[in-house]
């Protein structure tokens, strides 16, 4: 039988597939009104996103200044032996690690929110800009002394991948993209590793590294 005839058959017979009853407009409208009255409000961008943007900017400036003003090789050799320089290097690393720990906590909150949103429907339109903001900070941290810690670097790189997927997610329409993001989160155990990292807290970070 030809494709055309099969298509005709399908169109004719498939009309009866899950034939909808009359649309219960009033009941659904009441339920929608009740739900909205019960307190669901438009999602607002959390304030930590602005803090994140601020930290990213500070890091960019800090890394830039550090590179520009870094002493030459000879000076490093001479100064490296001095206790003052050692203390300064250590303080810088602690500062970067603290910043990294705060950033990881924000990424964790964002990813948990993202996953919850996708499982209960589509993520909000503000998701991609938020991911881009976090992505910028992540990339700065990858280039910073914080990433000298190998495990932290690996985590930041995995976060970078997931955030870049979310940042490029077109928004609410193609669930295949969401499946890929979900897979990346699962395969790399990103949330578990983030939780482990953030559970260590800033004190642990200062003394033992973020992870």
């Amino acid at each position: 039988m030809s494709d055309d005839r099969f298509e005709q058959f399908l169109r004719r017979e498939a009309r009866g597939y899950h034939e909808p009853p009359a649309v219960p407009r009033e009941e659904m409208w009441r339920a929608i009104a009740d739900e909205r009255r019960a307190g669901r409000r438009p999602t607002r961008r959390p304030t930590w996103i602005y803090w994140g943007a601020g930290i990213a900017a500070a890091l960019v400036i800090g890394v830039g200044i550090g590179r520009y003003s870094a002493p030459g090789e000879d000076t490093v050799t001479l100064a490296a032996a001095g206790p003052a320089e050692t203390a300064r290097t250590s303080a810088t690393q602690v500062a970067f690690r603290l910043t990294a720990a705060q950033h990881l906590a924000r990424v964790e909150v964002f990813l948990i929110g993202f996953r919850t949103d996708t499982r209960s429907g589509a993520p909000g339109a503000g998701t991609a800009p938020d991911a881009r903001s976090l992505l910028a900070t992540t990339r700065v941290l990858i280039d910073s002394p914080a990433a000298e810690d190998v495990m932290l670097r690996q985590l930041l790189e995995d976060i970078e991948l997931v955030l870049s997927q979310i940042a490029s997610y077109a928004g609410g329409s193609d669930s295949t993209e969401l499946d890929f993001i979900d897979e990346s989160l699962d395969q790399r155990s990103v949330l578990f590793r983030l939780r482990t990292a953030t559970d260590a807290g800033p004190a642990g970070t200062m003394t033992q590294g973020v992870l």
Partner: protein
């Protein structure tokens, strides 16, 4: 009232405009949700969730597509996500039933063509089924499907082609019946 004016009034908190927006689009959303879920409660849940999200996110609607397409896109995501949850639940339910049955049930009669067609459509992967239902059952164009599901028109056509091919395979034993 055109979409732009309607949206502006909804954003200003006009309850009449909210209701008008709902009335204009609810039938299409509910019909698609019902076709995909085959269940009134689920279809209602999906429809309600779609409009709650639409009202919540109307500020983010930039007008790049028609309002109906945008709402349909939300509906598509809500329905597919809802189906995933239900499928997980039903899989557990079936496993439990099977463990209780111990093979004592009598053999079901052979299904007729109509039943077989329904089963074959049910068995399609959800994304193919969505495209098939939208195009062949509800009469959407490929352009509408592409916009609503966030895929190129070519992908919509390809998925419809694959869906039909699978249905044809599934119904091969009834070839004489459908040919008549």
């Amino acid at each position: 009232m055109d979409d732009r004016e309607l949206i502006a009034r909804v954003r200003d908190g006009d309850p009449g405009a909210e209701r008008l927006l709902y009335d204009q689009h609810v039938d299409r959303v509910y019909r698609l949700a019902y076709r995909m879920t085959g269940d009134d409660d689920l279809a209602r849940d999906c429809t309600q969730e779609t409009f709650i999200r639409a009202f919540e996110r109307l500020d983010q609607f930039r007008g790049e597509a028609a309002l109906g397409t945008w709402i349909q896109a939300i509906a598509g995501t809500v329905v597919l996500n809802g189906l995933r949850k239900v499928k997980r639940f039903r899989t557990r339910e079936v496993e439990l039933d099977e463990s209780l049955a111990h093979g004592g049930s009598p053999r079901a009669p052979e299904p007729d063509l109509k039943e077989q067609l329904e089963r074959a459509i049910d068995d399609l992967p959800d994304k193919y089924r969505m495209v098939f239902v939208m195009h062949d059952v509800e009469g959407y164009t490929h352009e509408e499907i592409g916009s609503a599901l966030g895929m190129p028109v070519g992908t919509s056509k390809a998925q419809l082609f694959r869906a039909r091919a699978r249905l044809r395979d599934a119904l091969s034993e009834f070839a004489e019946e459908w040919a008549s």
